[in-house]
């Protein structure tokens, strides 16, 4: 591990320099395995948040209080520590320029991590594919990568829309509820424009978003999903 950066009170981005790393594709993940002194092992999957073009491999990890792996990664790890990783894995939830667009990224909480990789990759290759990010978080303080997303939006690189489900700053202009069909109809391109959609978040969030998109008339085959949750982090 090379460096650690606090993204929100519960989430850190952890950057690694990896030996024998074959490189990854935007959207892939790694399996992290921890082994205790008595030999007990715990393994969890974490999406890679950095782009293939970035120098370091970055995992953005949300600390789950009852988790077996995330509290160690977020609270205990220090630069210079090493970790057992397997990967990169996954070829389904991957975006590369030949997959085209327009590209709609839908994030629930820390599900933004692989979408961040896709966004950075999109920028790194100078892609002209239009891209939008719809990001659902509890509050503005829970929005991961906020300064970077604001910068990218200001530069016109990506159109970012937020929905804050619990707490909103005064005068908040964005959405203020859990994701639903109406929000998706507003934000997504029309089904006729055939957006390619990547949805990542907790299981219930992904179900809601994917079902709403299908109900709106989007092609199921162009809605790619990645669910996390209920595994003890």
């Amino acid at each position: 591990m090379v460096e650690l950066f606090a993204e929100t009170p519960r989430t850190k981005s952890i950057a690694f320099e990896l030996d024998r790393w074959p490189g990854h594709r935007a959207g892939q993940h790694v399996d992290v395995r921890l082994t205790a002194e008595d030999g007990y092992q715990a393994q969890r999957s974490y999406s890679i948040a950095s782009a293939p073009e970035d120098e370091l491999v970055v995992l953005t990890v949300e600390r789950l209080d009852d988790g077996e792996v995330s509290p160690y990664l977020v609270d205990e790890m220090r630069p210079g520590d090493t970790l057992e990783l397997r990967g990169p894995v996954g070829g389904y939830f991957v975006w590369e320029s030949d997959r085209g667009g327009p590209l709609l990224l839908v994030a629930g909480g820390s599900g933004v991590a692989p979408l961040h990789s896709i966004l950075r990759h999109h920028q790194a290759i100078g892609s002209s594919v239009p891209v939008r990010l719809l990001y659902s978080a509890r509050s503005l303080a829970d929005v991961i990568y906020l300064p970077e997303l604001r910068r990218a939006a200001a530069e016109g690189a990506v159109d970012v829309r937020y929905t804050l489900t619990r707490e909103r700053p005064e005068g908040w202009q964005g959405y203020g509820r859990r994701i639903d069909e109406e929000i998706l109809a507003d934000v997504a391109w029309s089904p006729g424009e055939r957006p390619l959609v990547y949805v990542c978040g907790p299981s219930a969030f992904v179900e809601t978003a994917a079902n709403a998109l299908v109900d709106l008339g989007h092609e199921p085959g162009r809605i790619l999903t990645e669910r996390f949750g209920a595994t003890g982090g």
Partner: protein, 84 residues
């Protein structure tokens, strides 16, 4: 219990099959529907990992690791075709 999806077993399947498997297509032995492995419903909280068809909820895979040996039971699949 909420299901994850085939992405959650990408690492395990890659270790067993020696290649990326979330883009492989599995045919459910119960209903005959073809799905990308990445889209299958995956339940990870039990003693083993249970994988079900999203269309008919038929059991398609069971993955168990014990004493350092990994076992993948594919009896619920009529076919499993890796991406060409």
């Amino acid at each position: 219990m909420t299901a994850l999806d085939g992405n959650a077993i990408a690492g395990t399947l890659a270790a067993v099959f020696g290649r990326e498997m979330t883009t492989a297509i599995g045919t459910c032995a119960s209903c005959g529907r073809r799905s990308l492995v990445g889209e299958l419903a995956v339940y990870v909280r039990g003693p083993g990992t249970v994988v079900r068809c999203r269309h008919c909820a038929g059991l398609v895979m069971v993955i168990v690791a014990a004493h350092g040996v990994g076992c993948v039971d594919l009896q619920g699949l009529e076919a499993l075709e890796p991406e060409p």
